[in-house]
């Protein structure tokens, strides 16, 4: 290919000839709406750069892949001083609902998809989706309770094995 490219052309390298097995493994351990996005956004960006991606859902992150819960993640200012809402006001009835709706609107305005659709996107782009064995056992959940894009329920050892050489991100 290179000998047919005119010498004057500036061609970016898309690393096609680089045999890269760069992999990024993201552990999603949170179940609130605000913490659901970082993993998905970075995972999606990595996939767009040709990096292999494993998403591992554990603990509260399980809510992101559980049918019936994944569509209803909540953002609450409680215990979240970064929202600058006075601590005494944060637990007031209705505030979490308002904060959640505001956040979702902000995401929609930027054309960031809601969590279930985002998961479909990363799955279609090649991400592997894993659920944590221990979390499944603790909550008495099986593959039937989970989003059908989940590739399997694996334990910690499986995870460590499959992420040999990968970059790791804990959210």
């Amino acid at each position: 290919m290179t000998d047919t490219v005119p010498a004057e052309m500036i061609v970016p390298s898309f690393d096609d000839d680089v045999e890269t097995d760069r992999t990024l493994a993201i552990i999603c351990s949170k179940g609130s709406l605000d913490m659901a996005y970082p993993g998905l956004i970075l995972g999606n960006a990595a996939l767009g750069e040709g990096v292999g991606v494993h998403l591992f859902f554990t603990f509260w992150g399980f809510d992101m892949i559980t049918k019936g819960r994944m569509e209803h993640l909540v953002f609450s200012p409680v215990g979240n001083p970064a929202t600058h809402i006075p601590a005494a006001l944060a637990p007031l009835p209705g505030l979490a609902k308002m904060a959640t709706s505001q956040m979702q609107k902000a995401m929609d305005a930027l054309e960031i998809p809601p969590v279930p659709e985002f998961l479909e996107l990363v799955k279609a782009s090649g991400a592997k989706i894993w659920a944590c064995r221990l979390s499944a056992d603790m909550n008495h959940l099986t593959m039937d309770d989970l989003w059908d894009g989940v590739d399997g329920i694996i334990n910690a050892s499986d995870f460590i094995e499959m992420t040999d050489g990968a970059q790791l991100l804990f959210i």
Partner: protein, 104 residues
């Protein structure tokens, strides 16, 4: 910012080689760009590239993979097959558009 010659035509590109002038592009140039990065253009590829061009003209920005999928009607998985590894960047390069800026 630099100028380079593609098919005997002078074309302005940025430091990475992405075209910076929308109106300088034509299908022949697109073909050369695709060849330079090893993409064999089929009708399916062209359909995507034309969507990118039209959408850029309408929206003012290069569409992201998601937009090509939802608004352009091409399955995401298919995009990764047509333009392997770095689909968003490859599509933009061939279409003579800047790299998409959006996160998703």
């Amino acid at each position: 910012m630099a100028t380079t010659t593609i098919n005997g035509q002078e074309v302005t590109v940025d430091d990475e080689g992405f075209m910076t002038n929308y109106d300088q592009w034509n299908e022949e140039i697109g073909k050369s760009l695709a060849a330079a990065i090893g993409v064999d253009m089929t009708d399916e590829h062209w359909k995507v590239i034309h969507f990118l061009r039209d959408d850029f003209k309408a929206q003012g920005v290069t569409p992201t993979i998601r937009r090509v999928s939802t608004a352009g009607g091409v399955d995401t998985k298919r995009l990764f097959t047509l333009f392997p590894k770095k689909p968003a960047k490859k599509m933009a390069y061939i279409a003579g558009l800047p790299k998409p800026a959006g996160c998703v």
